[in-house]
Amino acid sequence: MSDSVTRLENLYRDVGPSLLAYLQRRFGDVHAAEDLLHETFFQAARRQEGLTIAVSPRAWLFGIAKNLALTAHRRRRATCPLSSVLTTPEATDDPRLELVREAVGRLPAAQREALELRLREGLSYSEIASALAIPVGTVRSRLHHAVHRLRASMAEADE
């Protein structure tokens, strides 16, 4: 097995679970998410140069996954409503967490995506910027707006 395949396999073990979770949240369909995960690594194997020069291979893979997910979503738009691009987090027993869950579900898709990549996947601001192909300042702004919105929702509920 060549070095590049071994490297990709190691990345698959390290980043694969996060990518699968990300794709599953975007689709809600486990099988579609698994297909997209495989396709992400196949595309990565086709673009070895990108992987070599990427500052963060993790962010680079997230970028590929995001683009593939968008393309796949466009293809099945006729049968899938746009609101289901990002799935809502699962319900919890804790009323306070349930409140936050609903507030997260109400966030604009762009803010929610940035928040998920930061809080769930642990990507840095620059990695999120690389994955979403947006400036770092935009990432910071989206995250700040998202936290402000969540805080406002919680404040409303407390009152």
Binding site: L8, L20, F42, V100
Partner: protein, 174 residues
């Protein structure tokens, strides 16, 4: 520090995006500012709750790595690289051969000593008469004709010299 800048830093801290030294400086700043402490606790509780909510999603187990597909791609890529190298080498050889044959093509042949114009004395009436005498010495007409014919066979240029008092001229084929 103004409130907006402090808020931005507090948000970044709640999102875990500050470096340790900046965070230590901010912590020292918050300790002296009760309102900042209040805001920090609000941001921290929001992001902690959001983190818990986002992590609660169940994810299916990771499917096996698609090694067969990716190795197939690698094989194809290696074959393509090999083909490109061979094709490049072949193209370089062809170009080299063509250029080389053009560059070192044989030069125009130099005038050989035996190709030098032969001096032919055109037979005049007197010399014809002299030729009929069938002399075969050096200046005989017969020998001169033989020389001229030999030169004509070799493709030599004919020089016509009718008379010793006139200039020789270049003529056509014998």
């Amino acid at each position: 520090m103004d409130r907006e800048a402090l808020d931005r830093l507090l948000l970044d801290r709640s999102l875990g995006a500050l470096s340790s030294d900046v965070e230590a400086l901010l912590a020292a700043q918050i300790e002296t500012d009760p309102s900042a402490q209040q805001r920090w606790s609000e941001y921290a509780s929001v992001t902690t709750a959001a983190r818990q909510v986002l992590h609660s999603n169940t994810v299916s187990s990771l499917p096996p790595f698609p090694s067969a597909r990716i190795q197939g791609l690698e094989r194809t890529r290696r074959q393509l690289v090999l083909f490109r190298r061979v094709a490049g080498l072949a193209a370089a050889l062809v170009v080299g051969t063509v250029l080389g044959s053009w560059w070192v093509r044989p030069a125009a042949p130099a005038l050989q000593p035996d190709k030098r114009p032969a001096f032919v004395h055109q037979a005049s009436g007197d010399t014809e008469r002299a030729g009929r005498s069938e002399k075969s010495d050096f200046w005989s007409i017969r020998r001169l004709h033989q020389t001229a014919q030999a030169s004509a066979r070799d493709g030599a240029t004919r020089v016509i010299w009718d008379s010793p008092v006139s200039r020789p001229r270049i003529g056509g084929e014998l």
